[in-house]
């Protein structure tokens, strides 16, 4: 008995998911959280499935998180990084993937510097494709784990005010957050230097707040984006020092707001640039719970794309 897969073949972004599909992932993740708390952190849901983690960009958190998620579901996994692989010999993306597929794999998790690369791949191979971050486009599992973390904290997302702060233009995390939060009824604002906020971002249904103090005053939660060093060298902002002065999320700014805010960050953090250490390590921070939720969300996505239904605890059993 096969039924229509709940999420389709691939997960390339949250833009094309419905609110129901996103809720299904979050519910499934909720159930998977418990697996990681067991002494023996393993269920047989994806036993016999072969998954390739194809990482064309450096990643610690996301790659490790996917790998734990896969292993805790009992899948067989292989990691391929661009350095030391045939990619560094000039092989094209589609050739790399087709060769891997010729080894009879079931899923590819891809991280790639080009926007659209996950969708490109998904349209050309039969395996399920999961986007682990494509250029400046989307990072859907990060968006989902942010949703799960906010839901844990606030109980619901409807009406919640979330401000996404920093380099919105170059951020795949920002786009996945915007789509996911809007679909689940949250209000979203973006805040950052105008040189790092797309001119037409409001068309995605978000408010633009130019000043960080106003964003803090407005928001129930902040999602603070990583500011990459190359934004300074390529002339989008004058200096990291000034960025911290004008847009940094600091304890003084949070205290001035006189309310309980939740602060998220997708990592890796530049302490003292977009976020100060006493905020990152402080009582408002949910940065480590985000990481914990990342494993559960990725387990849910892997499981649902593999065609699993809500009764995972009773599948693939016999042990």
């Amino acid at each position: 008995m096969t039924k229509a897969p709940a999420l389709g073949k691939d997960l390339v972004g949250l833009e094309h998911l419905s609110a129901e599909q996103i809720r299904l992932i979050l519910e499934t993740a909720e159930a998977f959280k418990e697996v990681s708390e067991r002494p023996i952190k393993k269920v047989p849901a994806l036993r016999g499935k072969t998954i390739v983690n194809l990482f064309f960009e450096a990643s610690t958190r996301t790659r490790t998180s996917f790998e734990f998620a896969e292993k805790r579901l009992s899948a067989d996994t292989v990691n391929v990084a661009s350095s030391g692989s045939s990619v560094s010999k000039g092989e094209t993306l589609v050739d790399t993937a087709r060769n891997l597929e010729a080894m009879r794999i079931d899923m590819v998790v891809i991280r790639h510097p080009s926007s659209g690369s996950a969708e490109f791949l998904g349209n050309r191979i039969r395996s399920n494709v999961i986007n682990a971050g494509d250029g400046k486009h989307e990072h859907p599992t990060q968006g989902l784990l942010d949703l799960l973390t906010l839901r844990d904290k606030f109980g619901k997302l409807e009406g919640l005010k979330v401000a996404i702060c920093g380099d919105v233009t170059h951020s795949r995390v920002a786009r996945s957050n915007i789509w996911g939060l809007r679909k689940l009824g949250a209000q979203v604002a973006v805040c950052g230097p105008a040189s790092l906020v797309p001119r037409d971002i409001a068309a995605l249904g978000v408010e633009v707040i130019p000043h960080i103090d106003d964003a803090i005053r407005w928001a129930d939660a902040l999602n603070v984006l990583r500011l990459q060093l190359e934004r300074m060298t390529s002339g989008f902002i004058p200096s990291l020092r000034e960025y911290n002065r004008v847009f940094g999320v600091t304890r003084e700014r949070l205290e001035r707001a006189q309310k309980d805010l939740v602060v998220m960050h997708p990592g890796p953090m530049n302490r003292g640039v977009e976020i100060d250490s006493d905020v990152a390590d402080g009582p408002f921070s949910v940065i480590l719970p985000q990481v914990t939720n990342g494993v559960a969300v990725r387990m849910a996505v892997l499981y649902l794309l593999a065609g699993g239904g809500p009764d995972w605890q009773h599948q693939g059993g016999g042990e």
Binding site: T92, L93, G116, S117, H137, P198, L204
Partner: protein, 430 residues
């Protein structure tokens, strides 16, 4: 010696003489011998029945890339000239970004000799403005012209150095050579992959703002005013550029402009799904830009339609969007798209369209053709402006297949193309 050709009973449209009516056209010795009623050709002449068809001066494209020498896996002069003939073009101007570039007499002469061997559409090479298209030193315009270049351009690469552009405009006046410029302020375009707008924002692709083109258009217009040189602005894409050109023409400056069929047809939404066949430079813009470009063509602000025919290999387009090369094919879809987008909705008459695709291009680059006057070259196209057909890239004569129009149904097609009094394309007999 080719046989004379008598084209009987067609609707003869000659924009150069503003004539439009049923007539016969008689071609002999590579020239238009006569246009009139009841013409009787000499014994043994080839008779073509054009009843229900349109007979017009052959289409002329001021902007194509034929890729030879250097990139013969994408296109050759011969395949490009055949694709041109199949699209109703009797002459095309080949841009100089070949390898080696058309910055010397030898390469210009080679392209001309390849075109003569092919014997399809005429091919007029465009020389480079700067040696090696490096934007540093002027090419030898006089030498290029004597070898057969009809204009100069560094197309694909804008001339960023304003001093070089100024001296090019001044120096070209000696020879009456038009300067064709690819307008893009590259420090502002900054390696963008598509139009800067809501689609780029959603797709996470770096955008090229309309301002990158407009700043360069404004500079070229100002330099044209300073020097009195003839500037031809390639593939205009924004409403802001249209406004700048309109003002320049009101001032009486020696400025002309072209627009491609795709910029008259598609918007940045064609890039959805990371469709690399919609990736080009300048990029596809917004609905308001398309409307402004159509209007500009109607009122003459933009002079001509040029295809920017840019063959690319399948593999090169079959990859990540930001890594894929810019450009699409144009020769075999241009007339059908133009009729469908401009004539059928009533924006242009067929005669107006033929003026912008034949007579006006010939005038701008001082080329033979664009007219059916007695003694004009026997470069003639027989068109069916009503026939409905579906674009099938596999049927192209071009070596490449990169078009976003595959599967699109259009109206209007070239049936017979005649160059120098010889049939070089006959769809029925092909």
């Amino acid at each position: 010696m080719t046989r004379p050709i008598l084209i009987k009973g067609g609707r003869v449209i000659d924009p150069s003489r503003r004539s439009d009516g049923i007539a016969d056209v008689y071609l002999a010795e590579g020239r238009v011998a006569s246009v009139g009623h009841g013409i009787v050709g000499e014994d043994g002449c080839q008779v073509i029945d054009a009843t229900g068809k349109v007979v017009a001066p052959g289409l002329i494209d001021l902007h194509v890339h034929l890729r030879e020498p250097g990139f013969e896996d994408l296109e050759t002069v011969a395949t490009g000239a055949m694709a041109a003939a199949a699209g109703g073009f009797t002459a095309v101007c080949a841009m100089p970004n070949t390898d080696p570039p058309q910055d010397n007499q030898g390469t210009i002469g080679f392209v001309i000799s390849q075109a003569q061997k092919a014997g399809k559409a005429r091919v007029y090479p465009v020389g480079t403005i700067s040696l090696g298209q490096k934007g540093e030193k002027l090419s030898e315009f006089g030498e290029l012209m004597s070898a057969g270049a009809v204009a100069v351009s560094d197309d694909g690469k804008p001339i960023m150095n304003s001093h070089l552009m100024r001296t090019a405009l001044e120096y070209a006046k000696t020879f009456g050579l038009p300067i064709a410029d690819h307008c893009e302020e590259i420090t502002l375009a900054h390696a963008g992959a598509m139009h800067e707008g809501i689609v780029a924002t959603r797709l996470g692709l770096k955008g090229i703002p309309a301002a990158a083109e407009e700043i360069h258009v404004a500079r070229d217009i100002i330099l044209s005013e300073l020097t009195g040189g003839q500037i031809h602005l390639c593939h205009m894409s924004t409403r802001g550029s249209v406004a700048l050109i309109r003002r320049a023409k009101d001032m009486g400056l020696n400025v002309s402009a072209e627009v491609t069929p795709h910029h008259l047809t598609l918007t940045h939404h064609a890039c959805e799904g990371y469709n690399t066949n919609a990736k080009m430079n300048p990029p596809l813009r917004e609905e308001a830009d398309v409307e402004a470009l159509q209007q500009a063509l109607k009122d003459g602000t933009i002079d001509v339609i040029a295809t920017d025919h840019a063959p690319h290999h399948y593999d090169a387009k079959e990859r990540e969007f930001d890594e894929a090369p810019n450009g699409i094919l144009g020769l075999e879809t241009a007339f059908g798209l133009a009729v469908s987008q401009l004539v059928r909705p009533g924006l242009l008459s067929l005669s107006d369209l033929l003026y912008r695709m034949s007579t006006r291009p010939a005038q701008l680059f001082k080329l033979p053709g664009g007219s059916l006057a007695t003694n004009a070259p026997a470069d003639v196209v027989i068109l069916d402006p009503d026939v409905e057909w579906t674009v099938d890239p596999r049927a192209f004569f071009s070596k490449s297949r990169n078009t976003p129009f595959g599967g699109r149904t259009v109206r209007g097609r070239a049936e017979v193309t005649i160059v120098r009094g010889r049939v070089v394309h006959d769809r029925a007999g092909a």
